[in-house]
Symmetry: C2
Subunit: 332 residues, 2 copies
Amino acid sequence: MATIYQVSELAGVSLATVSRVMNNNARVSEATRNKVLDAMAQLGYRPNSIAQSLASNRSNSVGILVSELHGPFYGEMLSGIENECRAAGKHVIIAAGHSEAESEKDGIEFLISRNCDALILHVEAVSDDYLIKLAGGKLPIVLINRYIAKLADNCISLDNELGGYLATQQLLQQGHTQLAYIAGPMWKSDAKDRYAGHLRAMAEHGLTFNPALLAEGDFRDSGGSACMQRLLATKLPFTALVCANDEMAAGAMEVAREQGLQVPQDLSIVGFDNLILARYIYPKLTTIDYPIGEMGRMAARWVLKNIYQQQALQLKNVFEPALVCRDSACSL
Amino acid sequence: MATIYQVSELAGVSLATVSRVMNNNARVSEATRNKVLDAMAQLGYRPNSIAQSLASNRSNSVGILVSELHGPFYGEMLSGIENECRAAGKHVIIAAGHSEAESEKDGIEFLISRNCDALILHVEAVSDDYLIKLAGGKLPIVLINRYIAKLADNCISLDNELGGYLATQQLLQQGHTQLAYIAGPMWKSDAKDRYAGHLRAMAEHGLTFNPALLAEGDFRDSGGSACMQRLLATKLPFTALVCANDEMAAGAMEVAREQGLQVPQDLSIVGFDNLILARYIYPKLTTIDYPIGEMGRMAARWVLKNIYQQQALQLKNVFEPALVCRDSACSL
DNA sequence: TTGTACGCGTTATCAT
DNA sequence: ATGATAACGCGTACAA
């Protein structure tokens, strides 16, 4: 592989000049610039990004930590991030945190050890304090899907409360008054917020929620199934069900079908996230759209603006969810 | 950030000695080793991986090119790769190729410019010749889901022909004799191979395939829907349908339902890939399992063994698909 | 076993 | 506008 030195030799200029034409930062005469460009082309020169990093103290890489690489959710997010970063010539290093505190910390350590210029984190298990301390270091971080007041500027989050509100409101407007709710793990803030939105919508319609019709799941379809069984076992009547995410909605729907309930005639269901699967299950799921791809993009833009000085970019910290009407909920 | 130099000073030894204890390669006395370790701990020393890379000419990073980051397929693959790599302390740089030749080449160039030690590629649009030339360079590559005879050792592939055979055989064993087939884009080798397997199974059962019952799709659900409509428009009778992947099966199933066909009573359908959605659609899809996660793992192991000298690893180049029986196909 | 000194391929700070 | 030259932090012959 040709080095900058060989280029300078062939072009008959110094090292420094070659570096200048590469980085376009200092004035170089048209004539010498062309000589250098020619030499580069002849030698098939490629800058060694490692050496660049060492000398400039920038790795041009941004580290991403997600809970899982598989699953329908993170792919969208990664896709948004990668797009934006690559267009800017930055590369993306990924690690998985598996929703477990130690593992998340491990992943973060790993990314730090890789000299990333910034970190984009989708973490769930790690504490606010840990993140605040981390943010206090010299390595900038952006948080996706998490809001910490002290780090508000570094958070790209969804208004989960509003989402929960919209989901429930839709059912109430369709005339339902007996609603059940399958929640996510209540120690997760998004699960809590979505539920809060549910309660707000109920209250606004003058309804009180029967705690017996609340089941706490795990955000997975098996959990949704289990919760649905528990709800049915109460023998309490309900004509509509809101689920804190689509996967649990799918699990619940399956159980409903097994029990001979028609969706949506006997039971209306609304989910949350608008995963791809929401379009595949039958009947197609009415749900709340979570613009995770856009949020990934925005996190990348945050980094580009704050770390790589792309001043022009517009930033936005909190995204609003929107209702997506399909076939799983209908009027009473 | 502390450097190796400060550690050596605090420990009262030379640079070289510190380097030796880090890399565990040369003998260092127990006493000095401990002094060094202590000094490291005191300073909170972290090796600078960039400098390590420059000096050792190894970046400890492996580049991954996939078609898309989102979608149900690549996530599994990335997950397998990341797992295996991180356990070995290597990191993973990702790029998307979007199934388009120029874009795939771009992505590869991008990864090369990042000084990866090896590349794991899931490419579809780029030519065999390009890949053979690429493999001729100094940067090792592994191909997933692609078989090129000249690069056989670098290919981790699935026996697609066998998969196509198994899918069709299942239907034939269930007594079906009138089968339709929705293929992938025939310029893709996996689409071609799966179809070849279909034909072999038909032939073995003494059946000849009616070309009018073949529709060529695009591996996406909308294509599956379109193909299904074309097939129905022929008015030719068929009681079973083989789809070259799950997404098209989902699209076809939707059209079938709209046309009042009951699956599987009126029409048996089998897919290919065993995506997560296969479990979510209704009825649950009988399909061929594509062990893409395992294959990603294996590609990572290939790199660990061949590039990072982990001799102990067992390698395997071609994987066998297996039938997964669910509810979308039944006996006549 | 330990230390010296050079090289890895750039960037950046001086001069000129 | 261009050229020397010193970092950047580490690996590794070679020497001791």
